[in-house]
Symmetry: C2
Subunit: 423 residues, 2 copies
C-alpha cells in the first residue's frame, strides 16, 4: 500500500470548472460577464432586511433568541412557514405527509442539502442520473465522491422520458441498477438551459424510477432541485414532485430562499422521506449542527410579515425586464443559425451554435469574445462526466441575472460580432 | 454484492450521543440543565448587532454587497482582520506565512472546518489521534467516516506527552503510522475538561509528530481547535501552535467567532498549510460555495469598529462570575472525595468521582440526578471509540455557560445531594 496524505475524496475533488472563468473576470476590469450566476444586485432587499433586523433586535427577548444557537433541524417557525409556503405554491389541500414540517430540514443554501443527500446515499462507484447538461457544481459533488453520472437528454420542453427509460433499461441489463441511487433534476428554469420540466413529466419520471426499483433492490429517489422556482416571471407555475400522489415518498425536494430573497443570506431547505431524512439530519449535526439561527429568523420574519411575497413580485418584474432586454439583443445581434432558448424564469438563456462552431474554453469563439472583454459559460462545462457519450461543445449559457441592462445589450452585441466573424 | 440504499457513510453516521440528553431536557420543563454547551444568553450582543446591521443596511452600496453572494474563501476584509487579530493575540511580529490571509478560509462555524479537514485527509481505516476525553461531535465525525480514534491521555495541566510518544511508537511498530493523518487537539479550556495545553507542550507535540513523519511517509498535522480561546476569564493567554517557528507548516488552526460573539451567527475560520488549504477550499466549494456573506460582513464590522473587543471584555467578566458561582457551589455541596477541575476560561468544569461510582446514562447517579430534575453530561459520552482502552465511566461535564447563576447554585446543590446519597 502506498502512503497517501490526502483521502480519496481529497484527491478526487477537482478545481471547480468555473474558478478559472472567475479569475479571468477578475483580471479584466472592463469585462462584461454574462457568465456569473449572480442575482440582480439593485433589487436586493436592503431596506426590508434593515427593517426586519431592527424589529428582531429591538427587544432582548427576540434578539437573544436570534443570536443564540438553534437546533440541527432548524427554527420550528421557519420550518412551519416553509412547509405551508410550499404546499400553497403547489396548490395542495389537506395535511399530506409530503409537506410535513416534520420531514423538513433547514440548510446553508440548497447546495448543502445536495451535498448531504449525496453523502447519505452514494458510495464511490454508485451511479446518479442527471440531466444532460446539468448544474456543474452538482457534477463536481458527484465527481469528488467517485460517483458515476449518467446523462438523460433534455429537450426544449424538459426531460426526454424515452431516453430516461432507455438509460434505465441499459443499466438494468448491465446489472448496474443496484448502484443507482437517485435522479438529480433541476426542474425549474434549469441551470444551465433555462428549461422547465412539466409536472406530468415529473410524475412519469417517478413512475419510471419506481418500475425499476424491483431490479435495483432499493428505492431510487427523484432529487428535485427547485432553486429557481420563485424566479418565475412569465407563464404558469408548475407543481413540485411532492404533489405527485402515492409517489411522493420517493421525492427529495431541495429549495432555497437565497435566490428569491438574498443570496448573501444562504438559507435553503429540504423535504426528505425516511430513511434519508434521519440520515441527512445526523450528517448535518456533524457538518455544523444547524444553519445560522440569525439568518433563519430573518427569513421567518420576512415570510410572516409578507415582505418576502412583496419582494418576489418586485423581482418578477425586474427579471422579466432583464430577460426581455437579452431577448431583444439576441434577436438583433445573433446570426440566424444560432438557436437560443428563452426561459420563463430563472437567470439563464441557452444558445446552441451550429455543430461546426465549438464554444469551449479553448475555442476560437471563446478567445475572440474574451478579446472583446466578454465572458460566457461554455456549454461543455455544464456536462457531467459520462463515459457513454461525448460532451457537446457548441453551446453556451448566457446569464442576465447579475449584469446591468446596458451590459446585457452591449455584451450580446459583442458576442454577436464574434459569432458573425466566425460563422 | 448486497443491494444497499444508504452509503457506507450514511450507514455509519450514528445518532449524536447528546440528542437523547436534549430530548430528556425538552420533556422536563422544570429541568436544570448543566449539560447544554450554550453560551450565556443575557450577554449576547443584541444592541451591538442591531447597530451594526443598521449601519450596513443604511446605504444601498454596502447593503447590496452584504446581501449578494461572496466568494468560497470568504470576505477579504474579514480574512485580513481575522489574520491580524490572530497574530496580535499570539504576539507575533512581522509577516510570517502562518498568519497570511492567503491561507485562511471562512467557514460556517469552526465545526464545518473540522468536517472538511477530516474529509480532505481521512479515508475509512485511517487513524486520528484525539485527546482522551475529546469533543464528542468530533468523535462522531471520525466515526461516520470510518476513521479510528486513538486517545492520548489528558492531565490537569494538558496533554500527557510521554503517552503521546508511546501511542506513536506503538503505531509505528504495528505498521499503522502511514494511516495517521492528524492529531486533533482542543487546546484552550477544552471541551469537556476545561484543561488548557501550554504553548511549550504544543511545540513539543509538533516536534514529536514531525519525528514520526519519516515512518508515516507524509506530514502528520496538528489540528488545533481554538474554539474557546477568547472565552478566557483569568490567567494568561497562551499562544496558538501557529506561533511555533519552523513547525507551523504542520498546523491547521480552527477558530470561531460564534462563541465569543454570537452563537446564532455561526462564523468560523481556518488557517491551513498546503496542500490542505487548496483541497479544503475545493470541498467548501462543493459544500456551499461560501459562508453567508451577510454574517461575514456583520463580523467584519464588529471587528473593525471595536465592538467585538468591547464585547469580549464584557463576556470575560460575565463568565468569571458564573464560574465563581459554580466553584463556590461545588465547594459547598460536593463531597470531598469528588475531584473537580476549575477552568481559566470556556464553559465547563470537569468532575471525577471515585471509580466505584459510575456516572453514565444508565448509572444510579444519572437517574437520581434526573429524578431531581438535574442534567449533566456523563463523561463516558466524551470518549472516542478506541479499542485499545476501556472508556472511563466516573466523570461528568458541568457547564456554567447557559444556566443562570441561580440555576447553577441550585443545580450543583441537587447534584451534590445525589452524590452524597450514593457515596
Amino acid at each position: 500500500m502506498k502512503s497517501q496524505l490526502l483521502s480519496q475524496l481529497g484527491r478526487r475533488t477537482a478545481e471547480p470548472p468555473i474558478s478559472w472563468l472567475m479569475s479571468v473576470a477578475l483580471a479584466r476590469p472592463n469585462l462584461i460577464s454574462l457568465a456569473a450566476g449572480f442575482t440582480d444586485n439593485e433589487s436586493l432587499p436592503v431596506r426590508e432586511a434593515r427593517g426586519l433586523f431592527d424589529q428582531m433586535l429591538r427587544s432582548p427577548r427576540t434578539g437573544q433568541a436570534a443570536l443564540q444557537y438553534g437546533t440541527t433541524l432548524g427554527d420550528p417557525t421557519l420550518r412551519r412557514l416553509t412547509a405551508e409556503h410550499l404546499q400553497r405554491l403547489d396548490g395542495v389541500r389537506g395535511k399530506p405527509k409530503a409537506y410535513s414540517p416534520e420531514r423538513m430540514i433547514i440548510t446553508s443554501g440548497s447546495q448543502q442539502l445536495l451535498y448531504m443527500v449525496t453523502e447519505a446515499l452514494c458510495d464511490a462507484g454508485d451511479v446518479v442520473l442527471v440531466e444532460d447538461p446539468t448544474y456543474f457544481v452538482y457534477a463536481s459533488i458527484l465527481q469528488s465522491h467517485g460517483v458515476q453520472a449518467r446523462g438523460v437528454r433534455l429537450e426544449r420542453d424538459g426531460l426526454d422520458l424515452s431516453h430516461l427509460e432507455s438509460v434505465l433499461e441499459r443499466l438494468k441489463r448491465s446489472g448496474d441498477l443496484m448502484r443507482v441511487k437517485l435522479f438529480y433534476l433541476v426542474s425549474y428554469y434549469q441551470n444551465p438551459t433555462g428549461v422547465t420540466t412539466s409536472f406530468a413529466k415529473k410524475r412519469a419520471t417517478l413512475a419510471l424510477l419506481k418500475k425499476y426499483e424491483a431490479s435495483a433492490g432499493h428505492p431510487i429517489y427523484l432529487l428535485e432541485d427547485a432553486a429557481y422556482r420563485e424566479l418565475r416571471f412569465t407563464g404558469e407555475d408548475v407543481k413540485s414532485a411532492l404533489a405527485a400522489r402515492r409517489l411522493s415518498d420517493r421525492v427529495i425536494l431541495a429549495g432555497t430562499y437565497s435566490k428569491p430573497f438574498a443570496t448573501g443570506a444562504r438559507v435553503g431547505f429540504g423535504f426528505l422521506p425516511e430513511p434519508v431524512f434521519t440520515t441527512v439530519t445526523r450528517i448535518k449535526g456533524n457538518h455544523d449542527f444547524g444553519t445560522s439561527n440569525l439568518l433563519q429568523q430573518l427569513l421567518a420574519r420576512a415570510l410572516a410579515s409578507g415582505s418576502y411575497d412583496a419582494h418576489r413580485q418586485q423581482l418578477r418584474r425586474r427579471y422579466a425586464q432583464k430577460a426581455r432586454v437579452m431577448r431583444q439583443a439576441l434577436e438583433k445581434h445573433f446570426p440566424a443559425d444560432v438557436e437560443w432558448w428563452e426561459p420563463e424564469g430563472g437567470l439563464y438563456f441557452w444558445a446552441r451554435l451550429p455543430r461546426s462552431l465549438p464554444s469551449g474554453v479553448k475555442s476560437k469563439l471563446f478567445k475572440a469574445a474574451l478579446s472583446h472583454d466578454l465572458l460566457y459559460v461554455p456549454g461543455e462545462l455544464c456536462y457531467a462526466d459520462d463515459s457513454t457519450r461525448r460532451k457537446p461543445n457548441h453551446e453556451m449559457r448566457l446569464s442576465f441575472g447579475g449584469a446591468t441592462e446596458a451590459n446585457i445589450r452591449e455584451g450580446i452585441r459583442r458576442l454577436g460580432g464574434s459569432l458573425r466573424e466566425l460563422l
